[in-house]
């Protein structure tokens, strides 16, 4: 039997300036007592301060990252980078969180019960990031300037996301329960993106590989795609997309003449 150790962090500090909390990971908490965890230094703007100045700490870390669960008991929309580079274990955020949650995470699980700001799961390599509310831009995307996005793992957003979901993704899965805005799946070259709701424009633009599914309506369809067939009830391992879909390949608008696949709901896009 694995004994899970739970560390409960309750926000108590002043978060007027955002806090860079890449130190909050099971990897970093494992093997530390509550007191030691409170001593960990984190940055707030130009100054470093102890974690205990921002959070009350209850419970000790487990013997390894795998055995450690961190629960953040409250809203932390001004706290960034929670779970950055984590490899195992679990983080539960019982409210909303700030930017860059689960940045480059390689394993383990993060559950955000509220909303998350931009950049959740940036360049993620493995594990599960589940956001029950909405999020903003750059879900599972590459860092600015790069087109090497998410390479593995799974991101689930129950609500809506905004721009550049899965930019440069080459592996792993992103599932958006709600709607997205522009540039969803831009430069994707592998992996899977499923958007159950609507998309605005430049969907899957410059894709050269991978699969994207849009269950709702695409407001302005990208011009570089060619229709191949109509398929019913798609299934990608455990991910199912019911209904009739038009299957496109592309993006042929770029010199690389992409080999990506874009499924678009037939019912919601009859004009295509």
């Amino acid at each position: 039997m694995i004994l899970m150790a739970e560390v409960i962090l309750k926000p108590i500090g002043n978060f007027d300036l955002t806090v860079e909390a890449e130190a909050i990971t099971p990897d970093n908490f494992a093997g530390k007592t509550a007191v030691e965890i409170g001593e960990i230094l984190i940055w707030q703007a130009p100054a470093q301060a102890k974690l205990s100045e921002f959070f009350s700490v209850e419970g000790n870390g487990g013997s390894s990252a795998e055995d450690t669960t961190i629960t953040i008991d409250g809203d932390v929309p001004r706290v960034k980078r929670i779970g950055q580079e984590m490899t195992a274990g679990k983080i539960i955020i019982k409210g909303s969180t700030g930017m860059h949650v689960g940045n480059t995470m390689a394993g383990g699980e993060i559950i955000v019960e509220g909303n998350a700001e931009s950049w959740p799961g940036m360049e993620m390599k493995g594990g599960l990031l589940h956001i029950k509310g909405d999020t903003l831009d750059h879900v599972g995307c590459a860092y600015r300037g790069s087109w090497h996005g998410m390479t593995g793992g799974r991101i689930v957003i129950d609500g809506n996301a905004k721009n550049q979901v899965g930019g440069g993704i080459s592996g792993g899965e992103i599932i958006i329960g709600g709607n997205v805005d522009n540039f969803c799946g831009i430069r994707m070259n592998g992996g899977l993106i499923v958007v159950k709701g609507n998309a605005v424009r430049t969907t899957a633009a410059e894709m050269t590989g991978g699969v994207m599914v849009v269950g709702g309506r695409i407001e302005k369809f990208s011009p570089g795609f060619e229709m191949e067939a109509v398929e019913c009830d798609l299934k990608f391992d455990d991910i199912e997309c019911a209904g009739e879909f038009m299957k496109f390949t592309g993006d042929y608008a770029i010199p690389q003449k992409g080999k990506g696949t874009l499924y678009v709901s037939y019912e919601n896009n009859e004009c295509l």
Binding site: A142, Y143, R144, G145, S146, W147, E206, T208, I254, P255
Partner: protein, 584 residues
């Protein structure tokens, strides 16, 4: 006493002075190498025990893109190059970031940690000279100079078409002074001008649009002017068709053009007392040979064409070249060859930038990653090493990565390891695509360079080629007190343990500049004064006057005024003119 130091008992490698690993003491007084220090001077001097260590002159990089508009464009378009690679500030050193295109400060520190003390910026477009000097001024730790891009210059092309070599020479000498630059750089001659019209040139006898001059006219003209003026270094050539399969032939043929031109460097400087003749005798300096040595006819039958060039270099003495090695990993491709960058964009789909520099030249930038799994990249890796290992006389070659085109200069220690250790090469063959061994001859090359040869290709020959060997690239009496001490025991070195070679060259035990210890084991200890060299070429007043009349009448094609064109002295850190006397 400042700048006075004794470096004792090291294995000294000073090829220009014919010192090959002998245990010697090096004495530096007031920043210059001297025979000895008196007992009184020794009392005040700093003393370094270099026992069991390798001592070389400070490294000289004769071709690196470190400053100017192109490098800055690389920085601006590559935030992803910065966020994972950074350095915190220290009480004396600035913070900095950037892996392939580091910020100015970081670039200086990283060169210095490797024992390099002099670096040449490889391409200064005349209109961007101010910007380039502003950045060079801010690059700490290094003496510097820049090469002026002249291979597609409207004024020169016009003079060459008219056959007016005297006016062309007057123009070059005026431009060197005006922009405080050091030597002539010729990039894709005639081709970059055509790129303004969406075209290129593909043969040496193909005339370009409007100006109707051929690459051959330009290479010949610039090489002649170079020697007529007595510029310290040979004309610096980036040949046509670069980066295209089969380009090795046009490169070799380009090298034939200046064969009959005799090298006549004519600098008025104090020469260090080297045993070897420290003046160059070559009339052309080919850059990044690897990129100019592609074989095959397409990417499908791509192969190394290096041998075709090195055979020519081995049997002719008017050529010197640098390698342009590819050490794998991230790079930023940046060149004055705009059309070459566009071709790379079409190949990769990466983000790219192109600039047309009015009446002068052009440029382009594109991020690139060389992968061991990629067949072409693997051959390029092998080719870069071939360019150095196939040239029998190390005095004809210089080690570079054309930083950051083949990879950043911080990979030099890795390249040294490949050159010194066949095992290092064979181990890399195991990891990379089999084309590396199938499409190049490197796998059967067993040559392993000695430390002395490494000293030639990383400092002595770079200094001699650029005409700075009167003070750099040697530890002869009278030379600048620039020294690198590496933690490599020359007598116990085992080249099969190549990781220790990499470690040794990565962080010099001591980097000494002007007799002052500036880094120790990778830590910055002092920020020394730096010099910026440029060629101050004397020319008859009336030829200059005639030429300036033309320049002024053509200045209407520029977007800036004539008076704002020159780069004033204040943009340079310690402007150091090298007097070049065309009249003597």
């Amino acid at each position: 006493m400042a700048g006075t130091i004794a470096i004792k008992n090291g294995y000294v490698y000073d090829p220009l002075n014919e010192v090959d690993g002998e245990v010697m003491d090096i004495f530096i007084k007031n920043g210059k190498v001297v025979t000895e220090l008196s007992a009184a001077e020794m009392k005040d001097a700093k003393e370094i025990d270099a026992k069991g260590k390798t001592v070389m002159p400070g490294g000289v990089d004769s071709h690196s893109h470190v400053a100017g508009a192109k490098v800055n464009t690389g920085r601006m378009m590559r935030p992803e190059d910065h966020y994972k690679y950074y350095q915190k500030k220290t009480p004396i050193a600035h913070s900095g970031c950037g892996y392939t295109v580091p910020s100015v400060y970081l670039g200086g520190y990283e060169y210095s940690k490797m024992g390099y003390t002099t670096v040449f910026e490889a391409a200064v477009p005349p209109m961007e000279a101010r910007h380039t000097h502003e950045e060079m001024r801010s690059i700490p730790m290094l003496d510097m100079a820049g090469y002026l891009v002249l291979g597609n210059n409207w004024f020169l092309m016009r003079y060459l078409k008219e056959g007016d070599i005297d006016k062309a020479a007057a123009y070059v000498s005026w431009m060197m002074k005006t922009h405080k630059t050091y030597g002539i750089k010729c990039v894709n001659p005639a081709g970059v001008e055509n790129w303004g019209w969406g075209e290129n040139v593909s043969a040496l006898d193909e005339a370009n649009i409007h100006f109707e001059v051929t690459p051959e006219d330009i290479i010949k003209g610039l090489a002649e002017i170079n020697e007529q003026l007595g510029i310290p270094m040979p004309m610096h050539l980036h040949a046509n068709n670069l980066g295209h399969p089969g380009c090795w032939e046009i490169t070799r043929d380009s090298l034939k053009i200046p064969k009959s031109i005799k090298a006549k460097p004519n600098t008025d400087v104090e020469w260090a007392e080297t045993k070897m003749k420290a003046q160059r005798h070559q009339s052309v300096y080919l850059t990044h040979c690897q990129f100019n040595a592609f074989g095959g006819t397409s990417w499908r039958d791509f192969e190394s064409g290096v041998k075709g060039i090195t055979d020519y270099v081995n049997s002719n003495d008017h050529v010197v070249m640098d390698s342009g090695c590819v050490p794998f990993g991230d790079a930023t491709v940046m060149t004055g060859d705009g059309p070459a960058i566009h071709d790379l964009y079409q190949l990769t789909g990466n983000k790219w930038s192109n600039t047309d520099v009015e009446c002068e030249c052009g440029s382009g930038v594109l991020p690139f990653t060389y992968l061991k799994s990629n067949p072409i990249h693997s051959v390029q890796w092998a080719m870069g090493l071939e360019t150095l290992l196939y040239v029998k006389d190390a005095w004809k070659s210089i080690m570079t990565t054309d930083s950051p085109n083949g990879g950043p200069f911080t990979k030099y220690p890795q390249i040294i390891a490949w050159l010194m250790s066949n095992k290092a090469r064979q181990d890399t063959f195991e990891e990379c695509h089999k084309w590396a061994s199938d499409r190049s001859g490197l796998a059967s090359e067993t040559r392993e360079m000695s430390l002395s040869e490494i000293a030639i290709v990383t400092r002595a020959n770079a200094a001699r080629t650029t005409g700075l060997a009167h003070s750099k690239g040697t530890l002869a009496v009278g030379a600048d007190g620039d020294v690198a001490v590496y933690d490599i025991d020359a007598k116990k070195i085992d080249v099969n343990d190549y990781e220790s070679i990499i470690r040794g060259f990565q962080n010099a035990s001591y980097t000494i500049k002007g007799g002052e210890v500036i880094t120790q084991d990778g830590e910055i200890l002092a920020i020394p004064e730096k010099n910026t060299f440029y060629s101050d070429i004397a020319i008859k007043a009336d030829s200059e006057k005639e030429m300036l009349k033309d320049v002024k009448s053509w200045f209407k094609y520029y977007t800036i005024g004539f008076n704002n064109y020159p780069t004033p002295d204040k943009y340079l850190a310690n402007p150091t003119p090298i007097k070049v006397n065309a009249e003597r």
